[in-house]
Symmetry: D2
Subunit: 469 residues, 4 copies
């Protein structure tokens, strides 16, 4: 008989994984306590490692470890990270034990003192720059692309930190939202296309910079505005100065943040995530109407879209799938005959809701399709008469190179099968994806958007990919 | 400045806490793996301690520890608990560190071999029996009332285990759902009024007994039937024999399981929890109609009731409060000026949904009222024009002595204030509780019910309370 | 290639293992701090589990765990064990993980309140009594024989605790040194033959009872006297009252405590351990003289005996073997070709001392002989011209049933081979064991002794062994 | 009442602390297993952190953590560090939690691949070089001076690794024994004066480089020779090639290694440590004879010297102080009235040996003198008639800047008090230190030596000290 082995539940999942959530607080006493709360609110953006650093009188203390925010930090640890300037980071990391080295914040000593950095995004010429830097004698400790940025800053011949940052950014391609501290001065910057979100808030005379507005809410901070693409914001002594960072390009905000990643109570680039998803759901209902008895969501990320579908179609919204939120470690058998195990430990159908019904299932997106396939089986086993699957975004056909960890093209269901083939594979009575135009129209209040994962239209140069071919 | 200290998030909560969830599996290889899955599904019934014991060839191995199921057990630990008969338990424990001794299962050696027991409920004459047993030379290790049952079994002069169990039960008053194993034979029993749920399932020629049907689902087991009040079921060698346990009384199923505790995907005493809550919500809408722009739930326990309210009233259902599911440890300041901290770390309002709206908030119940009060503030701060609070059960006015950990009478909001006073305290524009009759009518498909926490009508004698006065 | 697995170093050892060290402190504030120090000094008597309980106002708190004293307890843990009466225990446990249940102190609730007990020794009719008690309805949690004592006390029909203890002891055969507390009253008792040591001390108006005087020294307590065989000492409110416990028999103090177990800075039954070992070494030199260039000890337990041998023989004492004291976990390969691995990780020869020399190696005793065999190889490899092995006690030929964990007879080298065979097996030039008479003569200042492990003359009845044949 | 707090026992000690022990193994399968054993033997050289890295097919895996070797590594961890080339390090670190970053090995990625390094010693121009490197854009992660070396290698304009190493070394002043790996090639190098030891061994066709020969013994490796001052040894494919490293200076081997640090079963620079200490003890007896009844050592580091004193003086050697080897965590009260606590938990006098005697106590050295002072009190309390303190080295008067962590001058007893003042402070009847000439004469078989801590004659330039004045 085969022996079971441990596995972390998120690794059983077939969802794409955000790379990071970031928070910076400056000008507020016990800044690390606020950063802790902020990370807590951003936990959905990265569940494998968490870190906080705090600066007091020029000296920076750092703690980072694999695990959830609430596992990594306790009151004593937070209290030890004293000072009125602090950075925090949550991360999804692809590898297991021992990859502590890639966790953030990264803190280094360079000519101007301690420099700390947190980063959300993906540098598309990181390997190329790295080879160049290594050739000049630079030493790397991690495989993180944040380390490339730090080296570029340290090697800049400019004299002020602002100029050094600007100099470093001029070499970098791709997607980045960065927060950097040198002493008690904090800098926030977004790449020229603004792929990844970064918002500015105020609190008790100090400032907060973070990935999503929900982190402002938990701290009790007031939203001020988005950091603009290409902008370099300097936060010092209670003032926020807008400086030139890099020359902005045509904006390309990540539409997948609205579709799946961000928390529905956040607003990104001026759009309420909940409202955006409702709108996607309504458009989906218009594009792919069907006769059904109930609309159910794949909880929780598709709740808003399903509600939108229900509103538009007039088909009642029901709670037909329950999600177990006590995620953590489980075990699997190497020869797991039961391919639905991962989905079953997370979702359970509500038989009384589904039995005998024509069920419209709304999901936000399909990446690999393994969970979708299990869910359809569960819903049928619970007695559903018909299963109509509706997806509130187009088929995911291309990997993201701008900060979202997606499988390779071969593993993307939308890249390897046509919609009818997918419908047959899932065993549904009908399948409808929202069109690319429909999606972009539904969220047009924000944008313009990057929709490369759906369209293949990559907006920032993929330097490493070209080099490595 | 005050120092922060650690606190477990559930302890910041003002919700009542279930005492236990239980699972037994017999006649299936690697029974402890299935028990692990079952406990995982029952995690909502107790989050402070978890334990599993397994019997192989007459020898029982046990592991129990404070923590969530996925923290306490890993693949190696589960593999070490070998055998085809296993019991599991999750528990809410009132005290912190060092109370490992009260965790379950309890495993003892007595004349017939290793006896293991898991228990959900509360024995109302436990102290009285304990004093008596101690006077006869019995030694107690814990303050758990399960230990009283074990002593009664061990001291019985009867010869068969069935008779010993029956003898022991004849002394016991109160609420209990028990699973007991002696060697590879498993016994399941419910008290004469059936306060607490216990269901029987089948799997691969073996049997499962557990608190809720959602545990059967995750194991892939088939539901057979409820264990009946007073019934003693013997599970042995693939057979389930119904034996006499104790003389049944007028049934009194805990209505609070339907109102709040049980998972919506479970069915208890023949009633779908989701359907019951929908029905409660619809009755609530009929009893307390109001003009509103949207209905929102306090997630997740009130989701079904809110949907019911929306259906019946025609007011659209919205997702106006977001719940952060990454619960765990946080810290608090001893002089926490911010009384809303506990609620804020858990719930966040969605401003775009609430701004300018007349909001109908549906919750399942109000116990202490502290969270409700914070939520009303959040909703107003998010711009709500009016806040109408609706509760899908009557005011909680009396403590439960049948297995639910509730605060004392003085701390129950419904026991110390009238509805108008409560409305004023919460700062709402209107407040409506479902009536006792309305509640019982809505769930009449099951029952009869114990509703002592609402009505004070205690159905089993409160022996210890009388003795101790 | 085979995979390495973890092993605790003491388990690689072929030494006999003491079962326990015990400490009780009463009438002194922060008693648990003193108990911690005492256990620290007694760590050599048991390295697998440690426990402390403390009583304050009738309520007893307990913490016990697998591990060394300094791993199990920290300042916070000690501070939580408040009160002026405390017990402590260190234990060697034969099994690994999960055997926490057999650690001590044992704390139970019985008719008179919380009763706590620590025990050093072995009850020779424990199984027989256990069967009897179980037949009467007693429930056992552990396989520890201390639990038998507790049941006998709880079931006694006598009215005072003293009478209950006396009643319980009247059933028990074998070896025991016990300390018991009920509330703030402490009782110390030794079996009628006084196999195991137990000494009484005074400190700041309170009392200490413990296995060895070195524990008194570390606390700064003054030695008062030995607890006498059969005596029951009651320590209460600063007074020590000598009561009748059980009728004393011909004393039989464990000679192996002097030979190997006790710390050389302790005095047992009026004999300095260091002096006793020096005397054993001198007698050994007289019985087994040899021409040699240096005398070396197997450190550290044979240091004193080797020094005695050197004094008597005039052959210089040298430090020829070094012992690594950083014991802990290591790993072994299942197919370990290298049978000397266990010894090599612990001992290293000093080549410059041994090269070209005729070496007299003095050890305190030989049990299995595996370490001895490795050491002889190491010494030869370091260049010794001749190796003469001298043992400061007779061959160990019989298992101990009075509290020392020895291998079964088949594994005792002295039981399965003659001295010449042993000499040949070890590969030494000569081998000499001290004679039984020589040993007893050398330590005659104390005694009379139990020397059953050398002679087979068991002084207390072996009831269980007879029953179980 | 004051609360106790935790303290690690070594921190209560007033001994100087070695900075490191290092091991490298190449050309042997499962090299990390051998490195583990080697570190285990070198544990006395650093007890606060341990690390191992292993290289397989160009990829290097690293694990390092605070704690003892046996706490940090288990079989699974060792097995994960696969490959035939591995480095290990044990370290004493001055700071507590969070200083993981300064543990070694250090592994970096630079132009030639993964470079790993372990270092024992102290670079005396580290700060000066660091400032220079930082000015050129180098980024530092730690405060370790090993990082300076790595940067120098990475920035070298030379093309071969040998030349880069040589280039880097040409900038460095002070004391260093280094082992470096790049891929499967290992380099070992000692500073031009050879302050710190480094020996070369052979094993199964591969090579070992390590601080002391006792690490070769535990692995079963054969000693080949010392790495010579200034020499660069390349170990590759079973060959050891001696290359030029830096131009050698007048040798200055650390005499304190022989006096106190090294294990007595090691040989350093051709001298047996045990023999050297015996010789120091004999010289001490000649320089400072006294009438006494017994000679006792402060165990274990002074055992050999005490034996030498006994031999030369004819006064019998006795075991008068017992040392408890179960070191670990203990607790202290902030207002510890008992200044002898730290010594008492570690040492206990043997009353029967000391009572009424004129005792000659031999210690290897006195640094702060606090332990010595406690020991004299203990010995007197045990009844000694006279206490004559003898120290087998001169007074320690100057801090070491070559790799030994000593207190500042103000805390060195020998720097702030004359010998008669010290005698009076310790409360001894007489006090004798071995003279500088006597010490150097006794160990003249090796050398020439650095004796800066006794004489103030610093042999390598103290660049940072001069710069920072």
């Amino acid at each position: 008989m085969t022996k079971p082995t441990d596995v972390h539940l998120p690794l059983l999942d077939d969802r794409p994984r955000e790379e990071c959530g970031i928070v910076g607080v400056t000008g507020v006493e016990s800044a690390s306590e606020l950063v802790f709360l902020g990370l807590y609110a951003l936990q959905h953006r990265g569940q494998e490692a968490a870190g906080i650093c705090a600066t007091n009188g020029g000296r920076t203390k750092l703690f980072k470890e694999l695990g959830l925010v609430s596992d990594v930090f306790d009151a004593k640890r937070i209290a030890s990270l004293d000072g009125s300037t602090a950075l925090g980071h949550v991360r999804y990391s692809t590898a297991g034990d021992g990859q502590r080295v890639n966790a953030q914040p990264m803190v280094v000593r360079y000519a101007e003192g301690d420099l700390s950095i947190v980063h959300n995004g993906n540098i598309t010429n990181a390997y190329t720059l790295r080879d160049q830097l290594v050739g000049e004698g630079a030493i790397f400790r991690s495989s993180s692309d944040s380390e490339v940025i730090v080296h570029l800053v340290a090697r800049s011949r400019h004299r002020t930190i602002e100029s050094q940052l600007r100099d470093a950014l001029s070499f970098i391609e791709g997607a980045y939202a960065l927060v950097v501290t040198v002493g008690d001065v904090m800098y926030a910057v977004r790449d020229p296309r603004g792929f990844r979100p970064l918002v500015l808030g105020e609190l008790d005379g100090g400032h907060v910079v973070t990935s999503e507005t929900c982190a402002l809410d938990i701290m009790g901070a007031d939203f001020v505005r988005d950091v603009r693409p290409g902008e370099l914001v300097r936060l010092r002594a209670g003032r926020a100065d807008s400086l030139h960072g890099v020359h902005p390009e045509e904006p390309a905000a990540c539409v997948f943040e609205l579709v799946y990643f961000a928390r529905p109570d956040s607003s990104l680039w001026g759009v309420s995530v909940d409202r955006a998803r409702r709108s996607l759901g309504r458009s989906l209902a218009r594009e792919h109407p069907v006769e059904g008895d109930c609309v159910i969501a794949v909880p929780d990320s598709a709740n808003s879209a399903a509600l939108g579908y229900s509103e538009e179609s007039g088909i009642p919204y029901e709670l037909g799938l329950l999600r177990n939120h006590y995620v953590g470690r489980t075990f699997i058998r190497p020869t797991q005959a039961d391919r639905d195990f991962a989905a079953r430990i997370k979702y359970n159908p509500v038989r009384e809701v589904l039995d005998g019904q024509r069920v419209v299932v709304v999901d936000d997106s399909i990446v690999r399709g393994t969970t979708s396939s299990s869910l359809v089986k569960f819903i049928r086993a619970a007695g559903a008469a018909e299963v109509h699957f509706r997806v509130a975004s187009p088929p995911v056909r291309y990997p993201c190179y701008y900060g979202i960890d997606m499988p390779s093209r071969e593993e993307l269901l939308g890249a390897t099968a046509s919609v009818p083939e997918i419908a047959a594979g899932l065993g549904v009575d009908s399948l409808g994806y929202l069109s690319l135009e429909g999606m972009l129209e539904a969220v047009k209040e924000g944008g313009p958007y990057c929709s490369a994962c759906f369209s293949g239209d990559y907006r920032a140069p993929l330097v490493d990919m070209a080099e490595r071919r």
